[in-house]
């Protein structure tokens, strides 16, 4: 394979460029910043899930010695939201609070204790309103409205789409099955609590250092809310101590830190407590799902109808996108010829939900994969047979107009089935032990930006120094996934230099070209492509100068090992730095920019903005479990996972993303849940919000499948989110294989397992899960024609090679 030509790409070289800083404590996260004359900010939060604010009196707080400023909603009246539609949030609540923990006032003081004491002196008079705490309550209480801007009741968004002819598809089926599922909400639980430091200087310049995944969007939101020209605002994303989607929205503490700094003229820091992180949330939406599928006797799907009822919490956040995502990717994994999707997102009086790893797709993936397992059993097929006939094909279109390029799902499936000896184990292990299987697909970056524009999604500028060092400027933010390392390795590969000679300036809206942020698994794909474009421009100029000097054609030159070589005469070479100096003499100061914009992939129907991606990753997983019938405890013994990564740019980084995804999936399937009692979060602490430790984490066998995507950098696709998806249903299916109990509700806690075993012992239907779905009349679906041809001709992967 030509991939062997690479020096750094695909090699198990030390994983990261930021490793040394992170293992020595040198890396500075947002809360590690202590500028001179720092003030400490704190937020006062609502104790009510739903209440009118009658008055707020801040006089006593403002009079407390050491307090420098106090603000309320009236000081930040302009609304915001991450999505341009539904700008329904305020930095501090105005008139009404909609969840326990919603910020209503903020103070800045000389130290944290004084700030905390000041919060107790703020008097807020509330008129409590009845809280709406579930999907069912939201629909049953249309007159108890959380917002008034939405059209009816507590319904935030309704979607109804149909592709092909679903009724005809069901008519063709030999067998039809319906199931309902519930996926409880959970949260990101990053180890780093959100923190931000703002400094407004007397020249009117504002700088915000923040633990954010999306500095560009925070920049835009600050300008809008503070009504200040964006050119005066600089947002610097500090290294993020874990995000997983939870630091992708603009947050109250960011606006408040800036406002408090504007009022005091001093830097202000706000670091959330762990309890407050649970209220900031934006985590996994609870989703109630109904699915109906028609199949032929051999398992081939003839039609699918999917409904999702989504609990959005108190605000819209990314919710419109989430709603579409619960219906978009079913067809990217399996060829579904006729498909209807109906989705509904409601408001409830809980912290707002948002994007968590897999954003809106793990819930339907769980439902679909367990549903298929049931259909297989009904038809007497095994879990591989039911999936094999309709696996997505490379270079094809889905029925809902999503363009698939590279796809090695069949190889992924084969690999995990073989390595886990799935077919030898399935239905054959002793009672209490079982194996389960599932497949999935995920996007390598959203095809469209969050706000409509035609500009690039990612930009990279490179600057060459006479020493031979290169400085990379890019807006991408490293949240631990290794995007800084990918940038450094890519530039070093293209210029043939040591990655240690690459310096990085990233995630600074005042200095770096825009990258839209670390979400939708987009950074390696988009910033990687931009870096390649920029580096090749520079290389061309270096080669032109060296070719002129040696009097040979530039096409005979190569850059490697810190030198420029003549391929026709390997004895002829010069150090990289000398080539830089010759090029600088010829062309002047050397810099170059590259950018990446996804190809036009959307626009054929309303709602098609969510789902398109320049490339999809594919994953298959097998989980093996041991269920203790006495305690109900599920031990995951091993996970086999095969991921179509396109090309693994750094195997350590890719494996790290996959292992982390498996871990996070196991937390979601077995224990993690964000739940409430009488409007109050049941356990906003790390001790009681159960997450897996070293002792619950099984061994993982990771198999990387390289399909070399034509659009990806060196053929690469994403690894950060997709591998989470199949693990949750694989475990649920394995639990069924082990004890014959269907857990159609996530998480699968010991309590539910024991209840299921009890039902089974009594000879009743051994299933736990929702009984049905609320009666809701979806509007008639928007009918979209099937794409003319499923096969799309794209350039062969090899033509993209350097």
């Amino acid at each position: 394979m030509a991939a062997d030509d690479y020096t750094l790409i695909g090699r198990p070289i030390p994983a990261r460029v930021d490793g040394a800083g992170k293992v020595t404590g040198l890396t500075r996260y947002a809360d590690d910043l202590f500028p001179a004359r720092l003030l400490y900010g704190k937020l006062l939060r609502s104790p009510y899930p739903h209440a009118r604010i009658l008055r707020i009196d801040t006089c006593k707080a403002a009079a407390l010695p050491g307090v420098k400023a106090v603000i309320t909603g009236a000081d930040l009246p302009r609304p915001f939201s991450i999505m341009p539609v539904n700008q329904d949030e305020h930095a501090l609540a105005i008139d009404k609070v909609r969840y326990v923990g919603e910020p209503v006032a903020a103070v800045a003081a000389v130290d944290e204790e004084t700030a905390e004491a000041a919060l107790h002196l703020i008097e807020v008079a509330y008129e409590p309103l009845p809280p709406v705490m579930s999907i069912e309550e939201a629909l049953a209480q249309p007159d108890n409205r959380i917002h008034t801007y939405n059209r009816v009741g507590n319904v935030h968004r309704v979607v109804a789409l149909e592709f092909g002819d679903v009724e005809a598809g069901f008519a063709e089926a030999d067998y039809i099955r319906e199931d309902t599922f519930f996926f409880q909400g959970n949260t990101h639980l990053p180890m780093e609590q959100h923190a931000a430091v703002a400094h407004c200087t007397p020249d009117g310049q504002i700088t915000l250092w923040s633990a954010t995944q999306t500095p560009h969007y925070v920049h835009r939101a600050l300008a809008a809310v503070l009504d200040i020209p964006p050119s005066r605002i600089r947002v610097i994303a500090t290294p993020v101590g874990g995000g997983f989607g939870g630091k992708s929205d603009p947050f109250a503490h960011e606006f408040c830190a800036v406002k408090l700094s504007m009022l005091t003229g001093r830097p202000v820091k706000i670091c959330l407590t762990r309890e407050e992180v649970f209220y900031a949330h934006r985590g996994r939406h609870p989703v109630l799902m109904w699915i109906r599928t028609g199949v032929k006797r051999n398992g081939a799907i003839t039609a699918m109808h999917f409904k999702s009822f989504i609990d959005g919490g108190a605000y819209s956040s990314y919710g419109v996108a989430t709603t579409y995502y619960t219906g978009a990717l079913q067809t990217v994994t399996y060829r579904v010829p006729n498909y209807r999707f109906e989705g509904l997102r409601v408001f409830t009086n809980k912290p707002p939900c948002g994007p968590k790893r897999g954003h809106g797709t793990p819930q339907p993936r769980y439902a679909l994969e367990v549903h298929l397992d049931k259909i297989a059993e009904d038809l007497g097929l095994d879990p591989v047979q039911i999936r094999r006939p309709h696996l997505a094909k490379p270079f094809s279109m889905t029925v809902n107009h999503l363009r698939i390029t590279s796809c090695a799902l069949d190889e992924c499936l084969d690999a995990v089935v073989k390595r886990s000896e799935f077919l030898q184990k399935h239905r054959r292990l002793p009672f209490g032990k079982g194996v389960g299987l599932a497949c999935s697909a995920y996007l390598s970056g959203a095809g469209l930006p969050i706000y409509w524009n035609e500009m690039p999604h990612s930009g990279v500028t490179l600057q060459l120094d006479r020493s031979g060092s290169v400085c990379v400027f890019c807006g991408a933010v490293d949240i631990g996934q290794g995007s800084d390392s990918v940038l450094a390795f890519t530039v070093a590969e293209e210029l043939g230099i040591d990655p240690r000679d690459v310096r990085l300036v990233t995630a600074d809206t005042g200095i770096t070209p825009v990258d839209l942020g670390s979400y939708s698994s987009r950074v390696t794909f988009m910033a990687g492509n931009a870096a390649i474009v920029a580096a090749r421009q520079l290389r061309e100029r270096l080669f032109a100068a060296v070719a002129e000097h040696w009097g040979i054609p530039a096409r005979h030159l190569r850059a490697a090992q810190g030198r420029i070589f003549a391929v026709t005469d390997p004895s002829r070479s010069m150090p990289f730095a000398e080539a830089v100096q010759r090029a600088e003499a010829k062309f002047g100061t050397l810099s170059a920019s590259g950018s990446y914009t996804p190809p036009p992939l959307a626009g054929k129907y309303k709602g098609h903005g969510v789902g398109p991606s320049p490339a999809y990753s594919y994953t298959a997983a097998v989980a093996q479990v041991d269920v203790d019938p006495d305690t109900g405890w599920v031990t995951v013994e091993k996970v086999w996972i095969a991921h179509d990564i396109g090309k693994a740019l750094n195997p350590y980084l890719v494996e790290g993303q996959i292992e982390g995804s498996v871990y996070m999936a196991l937390g979601e399937v077995l224990m993690e849940e964000q739940v409430f009692r009488r409007g109050v979060h049941k356990f906003p602490s790390m001790l009681e919000y159960k997450s897996p430790t070293f002792l619950e984490m099984p061994e993982v066998e990771t198999i990387l499948i390289e399909s070399l995507d034509p659009e990806g950098p060196y053929g690469a696709k994403e690894a950060g989110q997709g591998p989470l998806l199949p693990v949750i249903p694989a475990v649920a299916n394995a639990v069924y294989d082990a004890i014959g109990v269907r857990l159609d509700e996530i998480p699968i806690t010991p309590e539910k397992v024991l209840k299921g075993l009890e039902l089974r012992a009594k000879g009743q239907v051994a299933r736990l899960g929702p009984r049905g779905i609320p009666a809701f009349a979806f509007p008639p679906p928007r009918c979209v024609e099937v794409p003319e041809e499923w096969l799309v001709h794209l350039p062969d992967a090899k033509t993209r090679r350097p």
Binding site: T24, M191, E192, G656
Partner: protein
Amino acid sequence: MKTVVRLRVNGDEVEVWVPVHKTLLEVLREDLQLTGTKHGCELGECGTCTVLLDGQPVLSCLVLPIEVQGQEIVTIEGVAAGSELHALQAAFAELGAAQCGYCTPGMILTALALLRTNPAPTRQEVKEALAGNLCRCTGYLKILDAVARAAASLKDGSSYGG
């Protein structure tokens, strides 16, 4: 009420004038600028703020400085020998055992205490020793690999370098 506290941190004698109820975590970070010690909950639940006290891992968010005067405190800043990384640090960096890196100082210090008392731990022993430290990024597996690699390289006689 403030008081003078004398501490021995990473081999240095230091004196700070702090409120009596200020935690060791806060004093390290805010008064001694040792921000390598992180916080994840400040309630003793996550292990992120782990430091070594006379060689034993402790949660600095639950320790009052006045209790530990005269004892040897080691933070992540005290692990490397000058600019040379300890074998654990080198292994964590090379294998990608630090992703976001936020839990890493606590992980390394807990692992360091383990390797000093048990230079060749089994994988299960490492899991048990580190079970009080949460990590949300790695799935723990690269951390286990890194501790194993460090243990092997320490056995070969070099505590520093990887």
